[in-house]
C-alpha cells in the first residue's frame, strides 16, 4: 500500500509542505547536532497520508521544509512511528 499513486497528488497541494526521508548520514548528523535519541523528535504516524505517499517506515526520520513569512524556510524533523491501528 506504500506508494499507491492516486489520481490526485497530495504533495502538490499548497498546504502540504515538502517532506523527505533523510539519509543514514544526515540522520546521524541530526541526532548528534541536537544530542538526542530519535524519540525526542516530534512524531508523525506511519498512517499519515504523507507517510504513506512517500513510503516512510516506522523508525525513519522525515525532513520537513515549510515556507515561512519571516524566515523564508523553516526546517523541522519528525520521527515516523507506528500508529495504534
Amino acid at each position: 500500500m506504500a506508494t499507491e499513486k492516486k489520481h490526485f497528488n497530495i504533495m502538490n497541494h499548497k498546504l502540504v509542505p515538502f517532506h523527505m526521508i533523510i539519509s543514514e548520514k544526515e540522520r546521524e548528523e541530526l541526532l548528534k547536532k541536537y544530542n538526542i535519541e530519535p524519540n525526542r523528535l516530534p512524531k508523525i504516524l506511519d498512517t499519515d497520508p504523507v507517510s504513506i505517499y512517500i513510503g516512510a517506515k516506522p523508525g525513519q526520520i522525515l525532513k520537513i521544509i515549510r515556507e515561512s513569512h519571516t524566515a523564508k524556510e523553516a526546517v523541522s524533523y519528525r520521527l515516523v512511528v507506528e500508529s495504534n491501528k
Partner: protein, 889 residues
C-alpha cells in the same frame, strides 16, 4: 540563609491500586460501631467516630494508638473501619465493574473470547508493553470483542446483556443484580484474565471494587470545631459517616431479625446512597446529600475537585506572606516605575536585613529612629518590626516596641537579622487580576505615601488593564537580594514598555496626555513666554533658551518648540498623524490639515502630536525613541511628556459637555430629510418584495435580498447623518478634538449622539423576534418596515421613542451576554493552554523543548525571532532601513 538541598531523584512510576478488605482491617486502629461522637460530658465515645484511637486534634491530649501528641512529635492520625452489613458498590469504579461483567461469563468467570482470540490479545499486549506503547486502545478492543460473544466458550452459558443504570445499579437481561451477586461474579474471574481487563493482578482483585469494609479516616482529616457558643460543629465527612453507621446498624438489625425482603432491600439501597454520596456528593442521577441548612455537603471528591479543591486551591496555588491589597488611584506626578504605597501598609510589610560589621550602625539607627520623635510628622520614618537572633540554632524573634527599642538596638549583634519596614526605593511586584499576560505583574520602586490607596502613573493602566472605578491590586514585597536583582532587570515597568504580543509599545500616553500634546502642537500654537515657562517647569527644563518671537509687544514661544524639548537631538521621523483625514489625494509633506508629522534633528517641524505619536499601542515617536535610545530613554520620555501634557492641558483648559454635540437647526432638518428619504426607500423595497417585483441577488433568497438591501440603506442613512453632523462639528470642538486625536471617543459616538443612532441588530440581523409575526404589539403583524424592525432614527441627544428604546436595549443586551460568554470561555481555554505549555522553554542550543526533553520546535517560532524586538511582527523594518540609507545615517 539556609537552602534546601535539591533532590535529584526521578519518579519512576506511580501506581494506583485497590485496598483489600483485609488490608483495610489490618490498618484500622479500631472498628467503629457507634454513630455518636461525644458523650454528655464531652468525652469521645469509644468505638465512636471520634474515638481517641483515631488520633487526636486537641493539643495536650495523647493518641491512644501511637501515644504521641499533636504538637511537636505529631500523631499523624489513624484509620478506623466500619464493617458493612451488606456489600455496596464503589461509585468511582462502576465503569470498571461494568466492563468486567460484560467481558466475563457469570457461570465460570472466564473471558468471553475464543482461545485463539485470547492468545492473540495476550501476545499483542506483551508486545505493546515491551515497546512502551499505550495499551488503552487495545484493551478497549478486548471488551468490544467480548460483548459480541453470545455463549461462553468454556461452559456454554448464554451471555446476558449487562446494562448500567446510573449511578450504581447493574442489570443482567433487565434483572437487577445485587451488589452481593456482582461480588460473587467478580470473585469467579481468574487471575490470568485480569491483564486483559486492565487490572494489575499483583495489586488488585476485581471483587475489591465492591465494598464490604469502609475505611474511616482519622479525626485529623475531619476535625470538629468548637464555636464561640461552646457548641461543637462537626465536619461534613463526620456527618456523612454518622449516616452510614446508622443505616448500617438498622440494616444489620433488620436482616438478623428476619425482616421482610422488601424492607431489607430498601435499607440496603439507602446504605448504597449514603456511601455513594460519602465518596462523591455530585454523582449524577442522585440528589446530593444536604446539611440541615440546605447546603450540599462537601464530601471526599468535593475536597479534591475543581477550583476550590485541594489541587487548585492548596497545591498549585497558595496564600503568601509579604503581600498587600487595596484600591488603586492615579498619580500623574509619579514616574512609570514608581508606586505609591500607603504608610499603614509600609509599616506592616518588612524586608529582612542581615546585620554585618558594615551595616550594624545603620541597623541600630533603624531600630531607634522611629521613636526618636521627629519634628516633621508628615514625613515617613521606616522602623524595624522584629529582630531575629540566632544562638546555637535557636531562633528568637523579638518584637521592637517603643519601650524596648533603645535596649534592643544596643544589644544588636552581628549575625542577627532585622525585619525592617518598607522604605522608599524598595522593589516590589505589583499585579492586577486577571493576569492574562506577563505585563500583568511588573516590578515598581516603592514610594511611601499618605492615605490608603496604591497610586501609580496613568500610562501603566493599559498593561494592567486597570481603571479607577474601584479596582483593587496586589503588591508582593521582594525578600531576597537575588530576587531583587532579577525583578529589577526583567520585570521593571520600563523593561516592559514593548509588548511581546505585537512588538510595539503597550505603555504610552492615554486620554489627557494625548489631548494635552494635541493642544500644545496643533495649529501653530503660540504660547506667551511666562506660560511656557510654567509648562517647562513641570519637567524641570534646564536646556538652552528658546527662539522667541514678539507680537504686539509680548514674547511668545511656539508650542511645537516646547514639545521638541523632549525629543533626542538625533531623532528624524516622518509619519501620518491620527488626525489625518485620509484625503483622496494625500498631499503628503504639505498636508493642509497639519496631519503630516516631520521631526528633523530632534525638532518638531510640522504636524500634530497625537495618538500616533505618543499613544500606547501606536505611538511612533515613542517606539522610535525606545528602539534607538533604549528603555531608560523611553521611560524618561514617557515621564516627561505626561508631565508636559498635563501641565499644558491644565493651563489651556479643556472642557467637554453636552453642547459639544449641538448642531444647527439647519443640519437637523437636513438629517430628518435624509432619514425620511431612507424610510421611503425602505417601504418601497418592502412593497416591491410583497408584490414579488424584487429581484433576488445571486445566491440569495428573496427574503435575504430584501434584508440585505434594507441593511444597506440603514447603514448609509447613519453615515449620512454622521457626515452632516460631523461637518457642523469643527476642530474647535473639544469632543471632536478628542475623537480626532485618539484621546477618547470616536466620530461614530458623536454622530450617534447628534445625528442618528441607526439600525439595531441581534445576531447580525435586524430585530425579528418577540410576538407572533411582529416584534412588538405596536406594529402590524408582518410589518417589515424600518421602525418595526429596530431602526432607531433618533439621536441620543434628542432621545429615543419607547419602541426604539426597547430595540436599543435588545442590541445592548446581546453585547453584554456576548462579553460574559466570551470571557469565561476564553479564560478556560487559556487555562488549558497554560497548563499544557508551562514547562516549555528555549534551551541553550536554540531548540524549544519541554521538561521531558521532547523537542517542540527546532528554532523558537520556526524563525528564531523575539516578537518583542520585531517590528510589528516583522523581523526587519525595511522602510526604516531605506529612509536611513537615503539620509545617510
Amino acid at each position: 540563609m539556609e537552602r534546601a538541598r535539591s533532590v535529584t531523584k526521578k519518579i519512576g512510576k506511580i501506581e494506583f491500586s485497590l485496598l483489600s478488605p483485609n488490608e483495610i482491617r489490618k490498618m484500622s486502629a479500631t472498628k467503629v460501631i457507634t454513630a455518636d461522637t461525644y458523650d454528655d460530658d464531652g468525652f469521645p465515645i469509644a468505638m465512636g467516630l471520634m474515638d481517641p484511637r483515631l488520633g487526636v486534634i486537641e493539643p495536650g491530649l495523647r493518641c491512644k494508638t501511637c501515644g504521641q501528641r499533636v504538637g511537636k512529635d505529631k500523631c499523624p492520625g489513624h484509620f478506623g473501619h466500619i464493617d458493612l452489613a451488606m456489600p455496596v458498590i464503589h461509585v468511582g469504579l462502576i465503569k470498571t465493574i461494568r466492563n468486567c461483567l460484560r467481558s466475563t461469563c457469570r457461570e465460570c468467570g472466564h473471558l468471553l473470547l475464543t482461545d485463539k482470540q485470547r492468545e492473540e490479545y495476550f501476545k499483542e499486549l506483551k508486545r505493546y508493553n515491551q515497546e512502551g506503547r499505550n495499551t488503552t486502545y487495545l484493551l478497549k478492543q478486548v471488551i468490544k470483542d467480548c460483548v459480541k460473544a453470545e455463549k461462553c466458550t468454556r461452559c456454554g452459558r448464554e451471555v446476558g446483556k449487562i446494562e448500567l443504570d446510573k449511578p450504581t445499579s447493574l442489570r443482567e437481561n433487565g434483572k437487577k443484580l445485587t451488589p452481593s451477586e456482582v461480588r460473587e461474579w467478580l470473585e469467579k474471574i481468574p487471575d490470568e484474565a485480569l491483564p486483559l481487563l486492565d487490572i494489575n493482578k499483583k495489586s488488585a482483585r476485581p471483587e475489591w471494587m465492591i465494598l464490604t469494609v469502609l475505611p474511616v479516616p482519622s479525626v485529623a482529616v475531619r476535625p470538629s470545631v468548637t464555636l464561640q457558643s461552646g457548641e461543637r460543629s462537626e465536619d461534613d465527612l463526620t456527618h456523612k459517616l454518622v449516616d452510614v453507621i446508622r443505616i448500617n446498624q438498622r440494616l444489620q438489625e433488620n436482616r438478623d431479625a428476619g425482616a421482610p425482603q422488601l424492607i431489607v432491600e430498601d435499607l440496603w439501597e439507602l446504605l448504597q446512597y449514603h456511601i455513594t454520596t460519602y465518596l462523591d456528593n455530585q454523582t449524577s442521577g442522585i440528589p446530593p446529600a444536604r446539611h440541615r441548612s440546605g447546603r450540599p455537603l462537601k464530601t471526599l471528591a468535593q475536597r479534591l475537585k475543581g477550583k476550590e479543591g485541594r489541587f487548585r486551591s492548596n497545591l498549585s496555588g497558595k496564600r503568601v506572606n509579604f503581600s498587600a491589597r487595596t484600591v488603586i488611584s492615579p498619580d500623574p506626578n509619579l514616574s512609570i516605575n514608581e508606586l505609591g504605597v500607603p504608610i499603614r501598609m509600609a509599616e506592616e510589610l518588612t524586608v529582612p536585613v542581615k546585620v554585618t560589621s558594615h551595616n550594624i550602625d545603620w541597623c541600630k539607627q533603624m531600630i531607634k529612629q522611629k521613636y526618636l520623635g521627629s519634628d516633621d510628622h508628615a514625613e515617613y520614618i521606616p522602623g524595624v518590626n522584629y529582630v531575629v537572633r540566632e544562638t546555637d540554632g535557636m531562633r528568637r524573634r523579638i518584637k521592637v516596641t517603643e519601650k524596648n527599642a533603645e535596649d534592643v538596638a544596643e544589644k544588636l549583634e552581628i549575625g542577627s537579622s532585622i525585619e525592617r519596614q518598607l522604605m522608599n526605593g524598595d522593589i516590589a511586584l505589583f499585579n492586577r487580576q486577571p493576569s492574562l499576560h506577563r505585563m500583568s505583574m511588573m516590578a515598581h520602586r516603592v514610594k511611601v505615601v499618605p492615605d490608603k490607596t496604591f497610586r501609580f502613573n496613568l500610562c501603566v493602566c493599559p498593561p494592567y488593564n486597570a481603571d479607577f472605578d474601584g479596582d483593587e491590586m496586589n503588591l508582593h514585597l521582594i525578600q531576597g537580594e537575588e530576587a531583587k536583582a532579577e525583578a529589577e532587570i526583567l520585570m521593571k515597568v520600563q523593561e516592559n514598555i514593548l509588548s511581546p504580543r505585537f512588538g510595539g509599545a503597550i505603555i504610552g500616553g492615554i486620554h489627557d496626555h494625548i489631548s494635552g500634546c494635541f493642544l500644545l502642537t496643533h495649529k501653530d500654537r503660540k504660547i506667551p513666554l511666562d506660560d511656557a515657562s510654567h509648562i517647562l517647569a513641570a519637567i524641570n527644563y534646564d536646556g538652552k533658551n528658546f527662539k522667541t518671537f514678539t507680537e504686539d509687544g509680548k514674547k511668545y514661544i511656539s508650542g511645537k518648540d516646547v514639545f521638541s524639548t523632549l525629543l533626542p537631538k538625533s531623532l528624524n521621523l516622518e509619519y501620518k498623524a491620527k488626525a489625518c483625514f485620509n484625503c483622496d489625494t494625500c498631499q503628503a509633506p504639505n498636508c493642509p490639515h497639519n496631519a503630516y508629522v516631520i521631526v528633523k534633528n530632534g525638532v518638531l517641524k510640522q504636524g500634530i502630536i497625537d495618538e500616533n505619536g505618543i499613544g500606547a499601542f501606536k505611538g511612533k515617536i515613542l517606539d522610535r525613541i525606545i528602539r534607538d535610545h533604549g528603555m531608560d530613554a523611553g521611560r524618561e520620555f514617557i515621564d516627561n511628556f505626561t508631565k508636559l501634557a498635563i501641565a499644558s492641558i491644565t493651563l489651556f483648559g479643556f472642557t467637554t459637555s453636552i453642547d459639544d454635540e449641538d448642531i444647527p437647526d439647519e443640519a437637523k432638518k437636513q438629517i430628518a430629510e435624509g432619514i425620511g428619504k431612507a424610510l421611503k426607500k425602505i417601504s418601497g423595497l418592502v412593497k416591491a418584495y410583497e408584490a414579488g417585483e424584487l429581484e433576488s441577488l445571486p445566491g440569495r433568497s428573496l427574503e435575504e435580498t430584501l434584508e440585505m438591501e434594507i441593511m444597506k440603506v440603514t447603514g448609509k442613512t447613519r453615515d449620512m447623518a454622521g457626515e452632516i453632523a460631523g461637518s457642523h462639528l469643527g476642530m474647535d470642538n473639544s469632543a471632536v478634538m478628542m475623537a480626532k486625536s485618539g484621546a477618547r471617543g470616536s466620530m461614530l459616538n458623536l454622530s450617534q449622539m447628534s445625528g442618528c443612532v441607526g439600525q439595531q441588530a441581534v445576531r447580525g440581523e435586524r430585530i425579528s423576534r418577540g410576538y407572533q409575526y411582529r416584534t412588538l404589539p405596536h406594529f402590524k403583524r408582518g410589518d417589515l418596515g424600518a421602525s418595526a424592525k429596530g431602526f432607531v432614527a433618533s439621536c441620543y441627544k434628542s432621545g429615543l421613542s419607547p419602541t426604539e428604546y426597547f430595540f436599543h436595549s435588545m442590541g445592548g443586551r446581546e453585547g453584554l451576554v456576548d462579553t460574559a460568554v466570551r470571557t469565561s470561555r476564553s479564560g478556560y481555554m487559556q487555562r488549558r493552554l497554560i497548563n499544557a505549555l508551562e514547562d516549555v522553554k528555549v534551551e541553550n542550543d536554540g531548540t524549544v523543548r519541554h521538561a521531558g526533553g521532547q523537542i517542540i520546535q527546532f528554532i523558537y517560532g520556526e524563525d528564531g525571532i523575539d516578537p518583542t524586538r520585531s517590528m510589528g511582527g516583522n523581523a526587519v523594518d525595511i522602510d526604516r532601513i531605506i529612509s536611513d540609507v537615503k539620509e545617510g545615517v
